[in-house]
Symmetry: C2
Subunit: 508 residues, 2 copies
């Protein structure tokens, strides 16, 4: 059955479980999910791109993952005479950069501050990663430029996605859905519970620019703003590895996200006249294997949290089609089942959904090829917390727990989830939580850079205040970063850190 | 000299002092300023409106000012047998309402909690004041509806004012400038240092509504958005009673506000094409006597913080004109002196400035008539702190220290100034600072009311966290208020308070 419609009560007791014979295999941790096609990849999969994406993912994450082991090695030498030279040699060879000399000094008096050194290395690796992203565009594709034309042909001019802040969704745009990251607005919130007023602001600005400047397209073209929310679940460990913000309850996650979508749409409709409205899309992702489900919008745009197309089923049912017929086959499947279920998405919406399902097939094979069909890091494995406004460069799974927020005060819930995750990942075994505080600004507005820096510092103060014990224990380290988001190739600018790497000025 | 242009250095040493023979009288605390017209009022003054405004001001403030004395009286009786009845009788007679019974009980065990009772009475008085404002529109005028047409005839479609958060400027719109409070957007910030990005949002929304819905007027009409900042100073006590946020330095206050105006305009110009821009206005107010100075914009819209028209001089120079010639005389004065100084405001801008100066003449006489030309409360005398979003009903001088903010984190500076002021006013002598936390919402957006309530609670938590000692000592009391700002006649809704007025539920 392609379109799911389940008994809600049953779903609550075992959230979003997949029915049928494949269950046992799917629910066994670490096994790849059975699709009836044991070997080879799907004819619609772009294997070359998969290889390129994997190379980028493994190289980028590898940079972070070496840090712990290298510091273990360096720590062993700290009481030797030639320690600083030895440490620098190991660091340069293994990590590709030297460590701040001042952090290696005086180990004969007090032991190496491994916590600060760890955080410093994470920050240095992050900075290099981010700057590579903006300088070299490793995730860009030649056909990115055509994407705007595609979404307009589907009846949309803007895609605005709010996934959950969970790091296992951070790759949703470029990997899971294979969309150009520049073509989609992404603002993450714990549980995908996005801020309705923030989205209203964005809608107004978007429509204003269309009206005033004809960008991205003119209002003469009958296109709409599409807001999508992305929730998540884990089929293998539904009760523990689902969405923390919704108590690992997939139905609650879907309904929570849906409630925000509906409030946003009604907000637009009620606040402006002349038929102002938006389109909505609700997407779920199985974080075990990156397969998605797309909820089919009804004739009037309404969405049922319980009625969706499952990409795994699409994968199975189209495994034997030829490459040339793939898109048509998927589209036909969606259309036929929409009719069966009495829902009537617009033809443009079907076109978009078809593309998302088609794209997701490559990602399903990506996980099959490189992760045996199921990630080994089913749970959290983020390398750092990102908070603030920005982070376009973070397009990798489980790299960053990202909370989009302007103040700790309003984003406190999202941040608490992040610190809880890092208590499990790092703090519990003695390593600090590295937090990158980010504020992107519009360089064309005078004083915007200075205000962005001030906001970073304000966020840092509020973070340390909220987690004062962790901060005092050296268990919370911060890097302050701003970026002019109006200059595409411009990298990040580090404007502060909790780690001192220059000597304090002494007096005689 | 009508247009001031002073040596900046001299101004720094004695901010904005008024030159000439009238100095001594002006600088003497409590004296009315000399204008060469010892008796009678100016022919352009609306004395009847003055009487009506004074009646409203004195009655409204009187309600707050009775509280202390009434509680002193009530406290004397607290050990008498019939205390509760006595207290209620006094309260009803003097304040017009009964006190919560629970707060009067058990005084034989522990003394009356006068602090909580004081805050409760302030909150009750405030609630009645606010609801009267929305139900009865005591400050509305019949010609308010024509105001939009007037500003459009001056070349503007929106007036957006950012005065200092200081309570001595809270009456700037309806009293000092005699404008309809509904016709002007007002967002207060300490030192008039308004948030540029917040103003950009408002500009976008305004222009969007014009483009899309032709409201308040169509884009075919060549009008602009006018942003004004209002700073302040005290001629009698320039070094101590000026703007606290700028160290009582009038030049710094003017230049600070001007820098924000310029950043906002450049932000608009740089962010949008097709000649997008705004007009700017910088206004100063002498908080001793409510006379204003208006800085004349140059041909290109630039403003010199040092070049202004002083309403006191306008008052003097037009004291002998006939009522029918008043407007023309003022306009001529402004035009002639603009030419003299080589600045060329647009004719629409001159028309607006003329109206503001004309209106201010009534307020100058208001202070002369009812306050002997100089307020006796030259310094702070606010009755409560208002924080959050809203407070349209606060149009009275020295009633409220109002900080427009969405989070304590970002509005901390503004709030610290408020608490500092109330440390002097209340806390230093044992009375708490009453803080009304307010969040207005757009009722047409689903869930907006619930989110507004949640934001009030979040603000309350952050406030108590920032001033935890004061809060623990009972020196900080809060009232949580929301309001649907899309329903004109709807009053406020109290959604919480730090003061418990119902009995705790006990168990057996």
């Amino acid at each position: 059955m392609l379109v799911g419609r389940q008994n809600t009560k049953a779903m609550h007791s075992r959230p979003m479980r997949v029915r049928g014979a494949a269950d046992a295999a799917r629910r066994q941790h670490g096994s790849h999910f059975a699709l009836g096609q044991p070997g080879g990849h799907h004819p619609l999969t772009y294997s070359e791109e998969n290889a390129r994406l994997y190379q980028y993912e493994s190289r980028s994450k590898g940079g972070f993952d070496k840090i712990e082991q290298v510091l273990r090695q360096i720590a062993q030498h700290q009481h030797q005479v030639d320690f600083i030279n030895q440490a620098q040699q190991i660091a340069k060879q293994e990590l590709g950069f030297a460590l701040p000399e001042i952090m290696l000094e005086n180990t004969w008096i007090s032991p190496l501050d491994v916590r600060a050194l760890y955080a410093w290395c994470v920050f240095e690796t992050y900075s290099r990663y981010a700057n590579e992203f903006y300088n070299d565009s490793p995730l860009a594709r030649q056909d990115d430029a055509g994407f705007q034309g595609f979404i307009e042909s589907c009846g949309f001019h803007t895609l605005d996605f709010s996934p959950c802040a969970d790091g296992r969704l951070a790759h949703i745009i470029r990997y899971v859905l294979r969309l150009p990251y520049k073509g989609v607005r992404r603002k993450s919130y714990a549980g995908a519970m996005f801020d309705v007023e923030d989205s209203l602001h964005k809608w107004i600005k978007t429509e204003f620019t269309r009206l005033r400047e004809g960008m991205p397209n003119s209002v003469d073209q009958n296109t709409r703003y599409l807001k999508a929310a992305v929730y998540h679940y884990s089929t293998s460990q539904p009760d523990s590895e689902g969405c923390a913000a919704h108590g690992s309850d997939a139905v609650a996650a879907a309904e929570g996200a849906l409630s925000r979508l509906l409030a946003f749409r009604q907000g637009v409709e009620n606040s402006f006249c002349c038929g102002a409205s938006i389109d909505l899309l609700l997407i779920g992702i199985d974080t075990d294997n990156d397969s998605i489900r797309i909820h089919l919008p009804n004739a009037n745009g309404d969405i049922d949290s319980d009625c969706y197309v499952d990409a795994k089923e699409v994968y199975s049912q189209t495994f034997n089609v030829s490459k040339g017929n793939g898109k048509a086959a998927i589209s036909e499947l969606v259309e036929r089942l929409a009719v069966t279920k009495g829902v009537q998405p617009s033809s443009g919406m079907i076109k978009l959904i078809t593309r998302l399902l088609l794209n997701n097939i490559s990602q399903i094979d990506y996980v099959r090829t490189y992760y045996n069909g199921c990630y080994s890091d089913i749970g959290h494995q983020e390398r750092f917390i990102g908070m603030g406004v920005g982070f376009e460069e973070v397009q990798l799974r489980n790299l960053t727990y990202f909370a989009y927020l302007r103040t700790v005060e309003q984003g406190a819930k999202d941040l608490d989830v992040g610190i809880k995750i890092f208590t499990g990942l790092n703090i519990g075994r003695g390593l600090p939580a590295p937090v990158v505080i980010r504020y992107d600004y519009h360089g064309k507005v005078p004083g915007a850079r200075e205000r962005a820096i001030a906001r970073c510092k304000c966020l840092e103060g509020a973070l340390k205040n909220r987690f004062s014990d962790l901060s005092a224990q050296g268990m919370l380290h911060t890097l302050l970063v701003v970026r002019d988001c109006q200059v595409e190739s411009k990298g990040i600018e580090v404007v502060g850190s909790s780690i001192q790497t220059t000597a304090a000025q002494g007096g005689h």
